[in-house]
Symmetry: C2
Subunit: 207 residues, 2 copies
DNA sequence: CCAGGTTTTCGCCTAACGGTCGAAAACACG
DNA sequence: CGTGTTTTCGACCGTTAGGCGAAAACCTGG
Protein backbone atom coordinates (compact mmCIF):
# COMPACT_ATOMS: atom_id res chain seq x y z
CA UNK A 1 0.00 0.00 0.00
CA UNK A 2 1.64 3.17 -1.21
CA UNK A 3 0.88 6.79 -0.70
CA UNK A 4 1.63 9.53 -3.19
CA UNK A 5 3.70 12.28 -1.68
CA UNK A 6 2.38 15.79 -2.23
CA UNK A 7 5.40 17.72 -1.00
CA UNK A 8 9.13 17.76 -1.57
CA UNK A 9 11.35 15.94 -1.22
CA UNK A 10 10.34 13.33 -3.75
CA UNK A 11 6.98 14.94 -4.51
CA UNK A 12 4.65 12.80 -6.65
CA UNK A 13 6.64 9.70 -5.89
CA UNK A 14 5.07 6.89 -3.93
CA UNK A 15 6.07 6.08 -0.39
CA UNK A 16 5.18 3.61 2.30
CA UNK A 17 2.88 4.82 5.06
CA UNK A 18 4.69 5.91 8.18
CA UNK A 19 5.66 8.80 10.33
CA UNK A 20 7.46 10.03 13.40
CA UNK A 21 7.72 8.14 16.66
CA UNK A 22 5.68 9.62 19.47
CA UNK A 23 7.00 10.17 22.98
CA UNK A 24 4.76 7.63 24.66
CA UNK A 25 4.73 4.79 22.17
CA UNK A 26 7.06 2.09 20.94
CA UNK A 27 7.70 1.58 17.25
CA UNK A 28 4.97 -1.03 16.81
CA UNK A 29 2.35 1.17 18.46
CA UNK A 30 3.55 3.97 16.25
CA UNK A 31 3.20 2.11 12.98
CA UNK A 32 -0.23 0.88 14.02
CA UNK A 33 -1.24 4.44 14.76
CA UNK A 34 0.13 5.64 11.42
CA UNK A 35 -1.75 2.92 9.59
CA UNK A 36 -4.96 3.69 11.43
CA UNK A 37 -5.05 6.94 9.52
CA UNK A 38 -5.06 4.98 6.26
CA UNK A 39 -6.82 1.72 6.98
CA UNK A 40 -8.63 0.04 9.83
CA UNK A 41 -5.98 -1.41 12.12
CA UNK A 42 -8.17 -4.35 13.08
CA UNK A 43 -7.77 -5.61 9.55
CA UNK A 44 -4.06 -6.23 10.09
CA UNK A 45 -3.58 -9.96 10.53
CA UNK A 46 0.14 -9.84 11.21
CA UNK A 47 2.73 -7.19 12.02
CA UNK A 48 6.43 -7.76 12.50
CA UNK A 49 9.60 -5.74 12.49
CA UNK A 50 11.53 -5.94 9.28
CA UNK A 51 14.73 -3.94 9.69
CA UNK A 52 16.15 -0.54 10.45
CA UNK A 53 17.10 1.57 7.46
CA UNK A 54 19.59 4.18 8.54
CA UNK A 55 21.73 5.23 5.64
CA UNK A 56 22.62 8.87 6.43
CA UNK A 57 21.69 9.92 2.89
CA UNK A 58 18.45 7.97 2.57
CA UNK A 59 16.43 11.18 3.01
CA UNK A 60 18.04 14.18 1.34
CA UNK A 61 18.96 16.97 3.69
CA UNK A 62 17.54 15.31 6.76
CA UNK A 63 18.66 12.59 9.16
CA UNK A 64 15.84 10.05 9.30
CA UNK A 65 16.23 6.56 10.74
CA UNK A 66 13.33 4.30 9.81
CA UNK A 67 12.19 1.08 11.43
CA UNK A 68 10.47 -0.80 8.63
CA UNK A 69 7.63 -3.23 9.32
CA UNK A 70 5.99 -6.03 7.43
CA UNK A 71 2.22 -5.83 7.79
CA UNK A 72 -0.22 -8.32 6.30
CA UNK A 73 -3.92 -8.10 5.51
CA UNK A 74 -6.06 -11.13 4.61
CA UNK A 75 -6.88 -11.44 0.94
CA UNK A 76 -10.64 -11.08 1.38
CA UNK A 77 -10.20 -7.63 2.91
CA UNK A 78 -10.23 -4.74 0.48
CA UNK A 79 -9.91 -1.73 2.72
CA UNK A 80 -11.09 1.64 1.54
CA UNK A 81 -8.12 3.95 1.32
CA UNK A 82 -7.81 7.71 0.90
CA UNK A 83 -7.61 9.16 -2.59
CA UNK A 84 -3.85 9.65 -2.40
CA UNK A 85 -3.31 6.00 -1.45
CA UNK A 86 -3.41 2.90 -3.61
CA UNK A 87 -2.45 -0.77 -3.69
CA UNK A 88 0.29 -1.91 -6.02
CA UNK A 89 1.55 -5.39 -6.80
CA UNK A 90 4.99 -5.80 -5.29
CA UNK A 91 6.30 -6.92 -8.66
CA UNK A 92 5.21 -3.72 -10.39
CA UNK A 93 5.87 -0.78 -8.13
CA UNK A 94 5.62 2.77 -9.37
CA UNK A 95 8.45 5.26 -8.84
CA UNK A 96 9.04 5.18 -5.12
CA UNK A 97 10.40 7.76 -2.73
CA UNK A 98 13.63 7.37 -0.74
CA UNK A 99 14.69 3.75 -0.23
CA UNK A 100 11.16 2.45 -0.08
CA UNK A 101 11.61 0.13 -3.03
CA UNK A 102 14.41 -1.64 -1.19
CA UNK A 103 12.18 -1.90 1.85
CA UNK A 104 9.45 -3.50 -0.27
CA UNK A 105 11.91 -6.00 -1.70
CA UNK A 106 13.07 -6.91 1.75
CA UNK A 107 9.52 -7.34 2.94
CA UNK A 108 8.69 -9.60 0.03
CA UNK A 109 11.74 -11.70 0.71
CA UNK A 110 10.86 -12.01 4.39
CA UNK A 111 7.30 -12.99 3.57
CA UNK A 112 8.42 -15.67 1.13
CA UNK A 113 10.83 -17.16 3.65
CA UNK A 114 8.37 -17.21 6.52
CA UNK A 115 5.64 -18.77 4.42
CA UNK A 116 7.94 -21.71 3.95
CA UNK A 117 9.27 -22.43 7.42
CA UNK A 118 6.59 -21.02 9.75
CA UNK A 119 2.81 -21.10 9.88
CA UNK A 120 2.43 -17.59 8.53
CA UNK A 121 -0.22 -18.00 5.85
CA UNK A 122 -3.17 -17.70 8.16
CA UNK A 123 -2.35 -14.00 7.85
CA UNK A 124 -2.98 -14.00 4.12
CA UNK A 125 -6.02 -16.24 3.93
CA UNK A 126 -9.67 -15.44 4.60
CA UNK A 127 -11.46 -17.35 7.38
CA UNK A 128 -12.54 -20.05 4.92
CA UNK A 129 -10.93 -20.85 1.62
CA UNK A 130 -10.46 -23.55 -0.97
CA UNK A 131 -7.13 -25.18 -1.62
CA UNK A 132 -7.04 -23.53 -5.03
CA UNK A 133 -7.48 -20.11 -3.49
CA UNK A 134 -4.77 -20.82 -0.94
CA UNK A 135 -2.54 -22.05 -3.70
CA UNK A 136 -3.01 -18.76 -5.55
CA UNK A 137 -2.09 -16.83 -2.43
CA UNK A 138 1.06 -18.83 -1.85
CA UNK A 139 2.05 -18.65 -5.49
CA UNK A 140 1.58 -14.90 -5.57
CA UNK A 141 3.53 -14.38 -2.37
CA UNK A 142 6.33 -16.77 -3.27
CA UNK A 143 6.59 -15.78 -6.91
CA UNK A 144 6.33 -19.30 -8.31
CA UNK A 145 3.69 -21.97 -8.68
CA UNK A 146 3.26 -24.42 -5.86
CA UNK A 147 1.52 -27.77 -6.07
CA UNK A 148 -1.95 -27.76 -4.59
CA UNK A 149 -1.54 -31.39 -3.56
CA UNK A 150 1.71 -30.73 -1.79
CA UNK A 151 0.54 -27.51 -0.19
CA UNK A 152 -2.46 -29.21 1.34
CA UNK A 153 -0.41 -32.13 2.60
CA UNK A 154 2.37 -30.03 4.10
CA UNK A 155 0.02 -27.72 5.93
CA UNK A 156 -2.17 -30.60 7.07
CA UNK A 157 0.78 -32.60 8.34
CA UNK A 158 1.85 -29.64 10.41
CA UNK A 159 -1.59 -29.57 11.94
CA UNK A 160 -2.44 -26.15 10.58
CA UNK A 161 -5.29 -26.97 8.23
CA UNK A 162 -8.78 -28.16 9.02
CA UNK A 163 -11.75 -28.87 6.71
CA UNK A 164 -14.91 -26.95 7.48
CA UNK A 165 -17.14 -29.45 5.74
CA UNK A 166 -18.57 -26.87 3.38
CA UNK A 167 -18.02 -26.59 -0.33
CA UNK A 168 -18.27 -23.88 -2.95
CA UNK A 169 -20.18 -24.18 -6.20
CA UNK A 170 -18.03 -24.48 -9.29
CA UNK A 171 -17.73 -21.64 -11.76
CA UNK A 172 -19.46 -21.38 -15.14
CA UNK A 173 -16.84 -23.61 -16.72
CA UNK A 174 -17.74 -26.51 -14.48
CA UNK A 175 -15.54 -28.65 -12.33
CA UNK A 176 -15.87 -30.54 -9.10
CA UNK A 177 -17.02 -28.38 -6.17
CA UNK A 178 -14.10 -27.38 -3.98
CA UNK A 179 -14.00 -28.19 -0.28
CA UNK A 180 -13.57 -25.38 2.21
CA UNK A 181 -10.78 -25.26 4.79
CA UNK A 182 -9.76 -23.04 7.63
CA UNK A 183 -6.59 -22.56 9.64
CA UNK A 184 -7.05 -24.19 13.02
CA UNK A 185 -7.65 -21.62 15.70
CA UNK A 186 -4.85 -21.46 18.20
CA UNK A 187 -2.34 -21.35 15.36
CA UNK A 188 -3.24 -17.84 14.35
CA UNK A 189 0.08 -16.37 15.34
CA UNK A 190 3.53 -17.07 14.03
CA UNK A 191 5.12 -20.02 15.77
CA UNK A 192 8.71 -21.15 15.89
CA UNK A 193 10.31 -22.17 12.63
CA UNK A 194 10.54 -25.80 11.72
CA UNK A 195 13.90 -26.98 13.07
CA UNK A 196 16.04 -29.43 11.16
CA UNK A 197 18.66 -30.38 13.76
CA UNK A 198 16.35 -31.53 16.48
CA UNK A 199 17.04 -32.46 20.06
CA UNK A 200 17.56 -36.17 20.53
CA UNK A 201 14.72 -38.63 20.84
CA UNK A 202 11.96 -36.45 22.26
CA UNK A 203 9.62 -36.23 19.37
CA UNK A 204 8.87 -32.55 19.31
CA UNK A 205 7.52 -32.26 15.77
CA UNK A 206 9.40 -29.03 15.43
CA UNK A 207 6.89 -27.20 17.55
CA UNK B 1 30.16 -9.85 26.02
CA UNK B 2 28.98 -7.56 28.77
CA UNK B 3 30.31 -4.38 30.18
CA UNK B 4 29.91 -3.22 33.75
CA UNK B 5 28.34 0.19 33.99
CA UNK B 6 30.15 2.66 36.21
CA UNK B 7 27.53 5.38 36.31
CA UNK B 8 23.84 5.68 36.99
CA UNK B 9 21.36 4.66 35.86
CA UNK B 10 21.88 1.00 36.65
CA UNK B 11 25.41 1.45 37.94
CA UNK B 12 27.29 -1.81 38.55
CA UNK B 13 24.90 -3.74 36.41
CA UNK B 14 26.07 -5.33 33.22
CA UNK B 15 25.09 -4.02 29.83
CA UNK B 16 25.67 -4.85 26.19
CA UNK B 17 28.23 -2.75 24.35
CA UNK B 18 26.71 0.07 22.36
CA UNK B 19 26.29 3.77 22.08
CA UNK B 20 24.82 6.67 20.19
CA UNK B 21 24.41 6.82 16.43
CA UNK B 22 26.78 9.24 14.71
CA UNK B 23 25.71 11.71 12.07
CA UNK B 24 27.59 10.09 9.22
CA UNK B 25 27.09 6.41 9.86
CA UNK B 26 24.32 3.87 9.60
CA UNK B 27 23.45 1.62 12.52
CA UNK B 28 25.72 -1.21 11.43
CA UNK B 29 28.71 1.09 11.02
CA UNK B 30 27.86 2.48 14.42
CA UNK B 31 27.81 -0.83 16.22
CA UNK B 32 31.03 -1.85 14.52
CA UNK B 33 32.60 1.38 15.70
CA UNK B 34 31.30 0.86 19.23
CA UNK B 35 32.68 -2.67 19.28
CA UNK B 36 36.04 -1.56 17.94
CA UNK B 37 36.57 0.16 21.27
CA UNK B 38 36.15 -3.18 23.01
CA UNK B 39 37.40 -5.81 20.60
CA UNK B 40 39.04 -6.00 17.21
CA UNK B 41 36.29 -5.62 14.62
CA UNK B 42 38.01 -7.92 12.16
CA UNK B 43 37.28 -10.76 14.54
CA UNK B 44 33.55 -10.44 13.93
CA UNK B 45 32.51 -13.28 11.65
CA UNK B 46 28.87 -12.26 11.34
CA UNK B 47 26.76 -9.23 12.16
CA UNK B 48 23.03 -8.90 11.64
CA UNK B 49 20.22 -6.73 12.87
CA UNK B 50 18.15 -8.28 15.59
CA UNK B 51 15.32 -5.91 16.43
CA UNK B 52 14.48 -2.44 17.60
CA UNK B 53 13.75 -2.06 21.28
CA UNK B 54 11.73 1.07 21.83
CA UNK B 55 9.66 0.77 24.97
CA UNK B 56 9.37 4.38 26.20
CA UNK B 57 10.32 3.28 29.72
CA UNK B 58 13.22 1.00 28.83
CA UNK B 59 15.72 3.61 30.05
CA UNK B 60 14.52 5.50 33.11
CA UNK B 61 14.14 9.21 32.58
CA UNK B 62 15.42 9.19 29.03
CA UNK B 63 13.98 8.32 25.64
CA UNK B 64 16.38 5.82 24.07
CA UNK B 65 15.52 3.70 21.05
CA UNK B 66 17.99 0.88 20.54
CA UNK B 67 18.69 -1.16 17.43
CA UNK B 68 19.98 -4.46 18.76
CA UNK B 69 22.43 -6.56 16.77
CA UNK B 70 23.57 -10.15 16.85
CA UNK B 71 27.34 -10.36 16.44
CA UNK B 72 29.31 -13.59 16.30
CA UNK B 73 32.97 -14.37 16.87
CA UNK B 74 34.59 -17.70 15.93
CA UNK B 75 35.25 -20.00 18.84
CA UNK B 76 39.02 -20.02 18.45
CA UNK B 77 39.17 -16.27 18.98
CA UNK B 78 39.56 -15.13 22.57
CA UNK B 79 39.79 -11.36 22.27
CA UNK B 80 41.42 -9.33 24.97
CA UNK B 81 38.85 -7.06 26.52
CA UNK B 82 39.11 -4.07 28.88
CA UNK B 83 39.00 -4.64 32.60
CA UNK B 84 35.37 -3.57 32.88
CA UNK B 85 34.31 -6.06 30.21
CA UNK B 86 33.85 -9.80 30.42
CA UNK B 87 32.35 -12.79 28.64
CA UNK B 88 29.37 -14.54 30.17
CA UNK B 89 27.57 -17.68 29.09
CA UNK B 90 24.17 -16.74 27.77
CA UNK B 91 22.57 -19.23 30.14
CA UNK B 92 24.09 -17.60 33.22
CA UNK B 93 23.95 -13.86 32.86
CA UNK B 94 24.71 -11.52 35.75
CA UNK B 95 22.32 -8.74 36.74
CA UNK B 96 21.83 -6.79 33.53
CA UNK B 97 20.96 -3.17 32.89
CA UNK B 98 17.79 -2.00 31.16
CA UNK B 99 16.20 -4.60 28.90
CA UNK B 100 19.49 -6.15 27.92
CA UNK B 101 18.58 -9.56 29.24
CA UNK B 102 15.60 -9.68 26.91
CA UNK B 103 17.88 -8.65 24.07
CA UNK B 104 20.24 -11.51 24.91
CA UNK B 105 17.39 -13.98 24.95
CA UNK B 106 16.22 -12.78 21.58
CA UNK B 107 19.72 -13.06 20.18
CA UNK B 108 20.08 -16.59 21.44
CA UNK B 109 16.78 -17.55 19.94
CA UNK B 110 17.73 -16.03 16.60
CA UNK B 111 21.06 -17.83 16.62
CA UNK B 112 19.44 -21.16 17.35
CA UNK B 113 16.92 -20.74 14.57
CA UNK B 114 19.42 -19.66 11.97
CA UNK B 115 21.81 -22.49 12.80
CA UNK B 116 19.05 -24.85 11.83
CA UNK B 117 17.74 -23.46 8.58
CA UNK B 118 20.66 -21.47 7.16
CA UNK B 119 24.39 -22.02 6.78
CA UNK B 120 25.29 -19.83 9.73
CA UNK B 121 27.74 -21.98 11.63
CA UNK B 122 30.78 -20.96 9.65
CA UNK B 123 30.55 -17.89 11.86
CA UNK B 124 31.07 -19.92 15.02
CA UNK B 125 33.70 -22.36 13.82
CA UNK B 126 37.45 -21.87 13.44
CA UNK B 127 38.97 -22.27 9.95
CA UNK B 128 39.54 -25.96 10.57
CA UNK B 129 37.77 -28.15 13.06
CA UNK B 130 36.80 -31.69 13.91
CA UNK B 131 33.24 -32.91 13.84
CA UNK B 132 33.33 -33.30 17.60
CA UNK B 133 34.34 -29.68 18.03
CA UNK B 134 31.60 -28.54 15.69
CA UNK B 135 29.14 -30.69 17.55
CA UNK B 136 30.08 -28.96 20.79
CA UNK B 137 29.56 -25.58 19.19
CA UNK B 138 26.15 -26.48 17.86
CA UNK B 139 25.10 -28.07 21.12
CA UNK B 140 26.16 -25.03 23.10
CA UNK B 141 24.40 -22.63 20.76
CA UNK B 142 21.23 -24.68 20.47
CA UNK B 143 21.04 -25.70 24.09
CA UNK B 144 20.73 -29.43 23.47
CA UNK B 145 22.88 -32.26 22.23
CA UNK B 146 22.99 -32.94 18.52
CA UNK B 147 24.17 -36.12 16.87
CA UNK B 148 27.64 -35.86 15.37
CA UNK B 149 26.69 -38.29 12.63
CA UNK B 150 23.61 -36.35 11.68
CA UNK B 151 25.31 -32.97 11.90
CA UNK B 152 28.02 -34.05 9.51
CA UNK B 153 25.56 -35.56 7.07
CA UNK B 154 23.19 -32.60 7.05
CA UNK B 155 25.94 -30.06 6.53
CA UNK B 156 27.68 -32.21 3.94
CA UNK B 157 24.48 -32.79 2.01
CA UNK B 158 23.93 -29.07 1.84
CA UNK B 159 27.39 -28.72 0.36
CA UNK B 160 28.74 -26.67 3.23
CA UNK B 161 31.37 -29.01 4.63
CA UNK B 162 34.66 -30.10 3.11
CA UNK B 163 37.42 -32.33 4.51
CA UNK B 164 40.86 -30.77 4.64
CA UNK B 165 42.64 -34.10 4.66
CA UNK B 166 44.41 -33.35 7.91
CA UNK B 167 43.81 -34.99 11.26
CA UNK B 168 44.44 -34.12 14.87
CA UNK B 169 46.24 -36.35 17.36
CA UNK B 170 44.02 -37.93 19.98
CA UNK B 171 44.17 -36.76 23.58
CA UNK B 172 45.87 -38.54 26.47
CA UNK B 173 42.93 -40.88 26.85
CA UNK B 174 43.41 -42.26 23.36
CA UNK B 175 40.90 -42.66 20.58
CA UNK B 176 40.95 -42.59 16.85
CA UNK B 177 42.45 -39.40 15.39
CA UNK B 178 39.76 -36.99 14.24
CA UNK B 179 39.59 -35.73 10.67
CA UNK B 180 39.66 -32.01 10.05
CA UNK B 181 36.97 -30.17 8.10
CA UNK B 182 36.37 -26.66 6.90
CA UNK B 183 33.37 -24.76 5.64
CA UNK B 184 33.67 -24.45 1.87
CA UNK B 185 34.76 -20.98 0.88
CA UNK B 186 32.06 -19.13 -0.98
CA UNK B 187 29.56 -20.15 1.66
CA UNK B 188 31.01 -17.88 4.29
CA UNK B 189 28.01 -15.62 4.41
CA UNK B 190 24.46 -16.38 5.36
CA UNK B 191 22.51 -17.73 2.42
CA UNK B 192 18.80 -18.10 1.92
CA UNK B 193 16.96 -20.36 4.30
CA UNK B 194 16.15 -23.89 3.29
CA UNK B 195 12.75 -23.71 1.65
CA UNK B 196 10.18 -26.43 2.06
CA UNK B 197 7.59 -25.46 -0.55
CA UNK B 198 9.86 -25.41 -3.54
CA UNK B 199 9.26 -24.26 -7.07
CA UNK B 200 8.21 -27.11 -9.33
CA UNK B 201 10.60 -29.52 -10.92
CA UNK B 202 13.75 -27.44 -11.15
CA UNK B 203 15.88 -29.13 -8.56
CA UNK B 204 17.21 -26.12 -6.72
CA UNK B 205 18.44 -27.91 -3.61
CA UNK B 206 17.05 -25.02 -1.60
CA UNK B 207 19.95 -22.80 -2.52
C1' DC C 1 -29.89 -37.46 -21.32
C1' DC C 2 -25.54 -38.34 -22.95
C1' DA C 3 -20.69 -36.91 -24.48
C1' DG C 4 -16.92 -34.10 -23.83
C1' DG C 5 -14.59 -30.59 -21.13
C1' DT C 6 -13.19 -28.66 -16.59
C1' DT C 7 -11.78 -28.42 -11.94
C1' DT C 8 -10.89 -30.61 -7.70
C1' DT C 9 -9.60 -34.50 -4.82
C1' DC C 10 -7.18 -38.40 -3.51
C1' DG C 11 -4.15 -42.38 -3.48
C1' DC C 12 0.08 -44.21 -4.95
C1' DC C 13 4.92 -44.13 -6.00
C1' DT C 14 9.51 -42.59 -5.38
C1' DA C 15 13.46 -39.92 -3.91
C1' DA C 16 15.41 -37.53 -0.32
C1' DC C 17 16.04 -36.46 4.27
C1' DG C 18 16.81 -36.93 9.22
C1' DG C 19 17.31 -39.80 13.39
C1' DT C 20 19.37 -43.84 15.41
C1' DC C 21 22.26 -47.62 16.20
C1' DG C 22 26.14 -50.49 16.10
C1' DA C 23 30.22 -52.18 14.05
C1' DA C 24 34.77 -51.10 12.65
C1' DA C 25 38.83 -48.12 12.68
C1' DA C 26 42.63 -46.08 14.94
C1' DC C 27 44.74 -44.50 18.70
C1' DA C 28 46.69 -44.55 24.13
C1' DC C 29 47.98 -46.98 28.12
C1' DG C 30 49.53 -50.55 31.12
C1' DC D 1 49.13 -57.66 23.46
C1' DG D 2 44.66 -56.83 25.61
C1' DT D 3 41.60 -53.21 27.26
C1' DG D 4 39.56 -48.78 27.04
C1' DT D 5 38.53 -44.59 24.44
C1' DT D 6 37.22 -41.72 20.67
C1' DT D 7 36.04 -41.16 16.00
C1' DT D 8 34.20 -42.71 11.64
C1' DC D 9 31.19 -44.93 8.68
C1' DG D 10 27.63 -47.89 6.83
C1' DA D 11 23.04 -49.59 7.42
C1' DC D 12 18.31 -49.33 8.69
C1' DC D 13 13.95 -47.06 9.02
C1' DG D 14 10.23 -43.81 9.60
C1' DT D 15 8.92 -39.32 7.82
C1' DT D 16 8.60 -35.87 4.42
C1' DA D 17 7.93 -33.76 0.02
C1' DG D 18 7.43 -33.79 -4.94
C1' DG D 19 5.13 -35.83 -8.95
C1' DC D 20 1.65 -38.28 -11.47
C1' DG D 21 -2.60 -39.99 -12.85
C1' DA D 22 -7.02 -41.82 -11.94
C1' DA D 23 -11.43 -40.89 -10.07
C1' DA D 24 -14.94 -37.67 -8.50
C1' DA D 25 -18.18 -34.15 -9.31
C1' DC D 26 -19.66 -30.54 -11.70
C1' DC D 27 -20.64 -27.68 -16.22
C1' DT D 28 -22.20 -26.93 -21.09
C1' DG D 29 -23.82 -28.15 -25.58
C1' DG D 30 -25.99 -31.20 -28.64
Amino acid sequence: MLWERAREPHAHRWSLPGGGLGDDEDVEASIRRQLAEKVDVRQLSHVEQLAVFSNPARVPGLRVVATAFLGLVPSHIDPVVPSDTAWYPVDALPATAFDHEAICRRARSRLASKLSYTNLGFALAPPEFTISALRSLYSAALGYKVSATNLQRVLSRRGLLEPTGGTVQPGPSGGRPAALFRFVSGEMRVTDPFAVLRPPSTRSLGS
